[in-house]
């Protein structure tokens, strides 16, 4: 029972990381119908920013979080302006181009920082212990921080004028444009915001995972699976999707091994798509 609780908490931690990594992708995909194959590299940029701010510049980790958001958001905005916008309405080409961007970003990181993994010290020491169940404080921080960021994102999209515009374009781009919304600007801002979230994910993951030029791949796949499971229509779907992916990976991994868990979860997701292509938690299509 205690080990089950430990697994569950562990799963909650990885769910939180998956959620914040996937959130940006879901917002971008929902608004612009763009599959960004460089999403993993945006996470990598966030992780390297955290490394640079804490290890090279010597600032505390809590300064690294906003820095990672800002740097990745800027990278995302540039990417949207220079690449994605020019290929609007051509999803297959956009996918290829973003893949090109991912290769370029990986190699730039490789040239700049070398292929070796970098490490970021865990900013909060200590752990909480209930009998055999041990939870590092940093994991708690991660979970709470992600919850706060998700809540903030929901508020941004549902309580601000900017969010209203984003939702209007998501529902019907042409109609929104007719009503005078500058969809091009909203696209850029949204892409930047989604990228910033990816950067936060990278910075949060940096202390517990390794930082390397090629770290993005698994994050990309996880974000994909989450958005596929949850659908791109709602935050509830994304949150539920990441919980499902994170928890089931942790739980299956607990009774067998991580690899088998990853494969099983993937197969389950493929099966899920087979029957609910819009995502498990999507509302009926209009």
């Amino acid at each position: 029972m205690e080990s089950f609780a430990a697994l569950l908490l562990n799963g909650l931690n990885s769910s939180a990381l998956i959620l914040i990594a996937a959130l940006g992708m879901v917002i971008i995909c929902g608004l612009m119908n763009v599959i960004n194959l460089a999403h993993g590299e945006l996470i990598m940029i966030g992780a390297y920013t955290a490394y640079g701010v804490t290890q090279s510049l010597g600032y505390p980790f809590f300064a690294a979080l906003p820095a990672a958001f800002a740097v990745t958001a800027a990278a995302g905005a540039a990417m949207e302006r220079l690449v994605v916008k020019r290929l609007a309405g051509r999803p297959a080409e956009t996918m290829l181009a973003t893949f090109g961007v991912s290769v370029v970003l990986q190699q730039l990181a490789n040239v700049a920082f070398g292929a070796q993994s970098k490490y970021v010290a865990i900013p909060i020491d200590g752990k909480l212990a209930f009998g055999k169940v041990v939870v590092p404080f940093y994991n708690l921080f991660t979970i709470l921080f992600v919850a706060a960021v998700t809540a903030g994102t929901v508020l941004l999209l549902h309580r601000t004028k900017f969010g209203k515009r984003v939702r209007a374009i998501t529902q019907n781009r042409e109609m929104a444009e007719c009503l005078g919304i500058d969809s091009s600007r909203v696209d850029t801002f949204t892409f930047a915001f989604g990228s910033g979230l990816a950067g936060l994910a990278g910075a949060l993951a940096a202390p517990v995972k390794t930082v390397s030029p090629f770290m993005g791949g698994p994050y990309l796949v996880n974000s994909f699976m989450t958005s596929v499971v949850g659908g791109v229509a709602s935050f509830f779907g994304t949150s539920a999707g990441s919980l499902l992916v994170g928890e089931s990976t942790a739980l299956i991994g607990g009774v067998s091994n991580d690899v088998l868990a990853n494969i099983l979860v993937l197969l389950l997701i493929i099966a899920a798509i087979r029957f609910r292509p819009e995502g498990l938690f999507a509302k009926e299509r209009r």
């Binding site: 599959i35 290929l87 297959a92 040239v111 791949g217 493929i270």
Partner: protein, 347 residues
């Protein structure tokens, strides 16, 4: 117009490439002959992806999974020719499992290496396409599959050699007789020609026409009474068989196979070949595969990461300035609109 003028310029490129490949061993450059032999295996792989992506519009980001199935089955068969291979013995496997014993004979291994990926692709296609999973979802799922397959291969250490893969494999042989480099080279060359002829025939047939129809407008094809799911599944299976064949050849030609050859990395490499060379003409696939690999071999040792950087930049440049790849820039008789416009309509 004379019949002569109607042959697309691209066909001359095919001819030139095959002539060059056919004559190359005469130069006597052993090292490069061996290298080209490997690239010819990649050529078959590129053709198989072109059938799927170029003709049917299904962008498979995990095509190396199918390649890897053929490759690993062949590698296992080769390494188990004289009893339990060393890497298995290290993990305490004392007797060959029945499935492995069954593929030890060469014909069985070749057959399994082609049929298993074909069957896998067929089943996956049956599962996905009949639920209308298409477009980018297909790419997303195949990408995730590549990741999972790579993990799977790495985790099954006792049967796959784990991270190190299976090495020390003997070269190509035919009916149990080992072949010299020249013989092996021409065996692969002959197979490339066969696969090329097969793909040309297939894409020129009614089947190929339907595939192109699905690529351009699947719904319209449905109205005409064609079940697109059925056609997509069929082409996925055929493409799987060819990818498997490439894998079967790769194991002995390369002398080893490792998880890197079967995951995201190699899958996306093939996507880059096709994007740069051009899709939907077979010529572009061949051109891209040869160009990227030959240049990569020449440049990557000197420039390392910069070569990959250049490749990424080249991919971006192609998407923006030549969406149909290098071959798209060539004149094509009977083309109604410019290549750029045609690509713009395709989604």
């Amino acid at each position: 117009m004379t019949r002569f003028a109607k042959i697309p310029a691209a066909r001359y490129l095919d001819l030139a490439l095959f002539l060059a490949l056919g004559l190359f061993p005469l130069t006597g450059l052993m090292f490069y002959t061996q290298l080209l032999q490997k690239y010819m295996v990649f050529l078959i792989f590129a053709y198989s992806l072109d059938l799927l992506w170029g003709y049917a519009g299904l962008m498979d980001l995990g095509h190396a999974v199918l390649f890897g199935m053929g490759g690993y089955l062949m590698a296992l068969s080769l390494s188990a020719r004289s009893g339990v291979p060393e890497f298995m013995a290290r993990y305490g496997v004392e007797q060959l499992p029945a499935w492995l014993a069954a593929i030890v004979p060469e014909p069985a291994a070749v057959l399994a290496g082609i049929l298993v990926p074909a069957l896998f692709a067929g089943l996956l296609g049956r599962f996905l396409f009949f639920s209308r999973v298409g477009g980018v979802f297909f790419s997303v799922i195949t990408l995730a599959l590549a990741q999972a397959f790579n993990l799977f291969i790495q985790s099954q250490q006792e049967y796959t050699g784990g991270f190190n893969g299976i090495g020390g494999l003997p070269g190509l042989s035919l009916f149990g007789r080992p072949l010299t480099l020249a013989q092996g080279y021409y065996l692969v060359f002959g197979l490339v020609l066969l696969v090329y002829a097969f793909c040309r025939g297939l894409t020129a047939s009614r089947f190929g026409l339907v595939l192109r129809g699905i690529r351009e407008n699947g719904a319209r094809l449905e109205f005409l009474g064609y079940d697109q799911a059925r056609f997509k599944t069929a082409v996925f299976a055929v493409s799987g068989a060819l990818a498997g064949l490439a894998g079967v050849l790769y194991a002995p030609v390369n002398g080893m196979i490792a998880p890197n050859d079967v995951g995201m990395e190699f899958s996306t490499a093939a996507v880059v070949w096709l994007a740069i060379g051009g899709r939907g003409s077979l010529t572009g696939a061949a051109l891209g595969a040869m160009l990227v690999n030959v240049l990569g071999n020449a440049l990557s040792e000197q420039f390392g990461a910069y070569w990959q950087l250049l490749l990424g930049a080249a991919l971006l440049a192609v998407v923006f300035f030549a969406p149909q790849g290098i071959t798209g820039v060539l004149p094509r008789p009977g083309a109604r609109s410019s290549p750029g416009k045609a690509a713009g309509k395709r989604a």
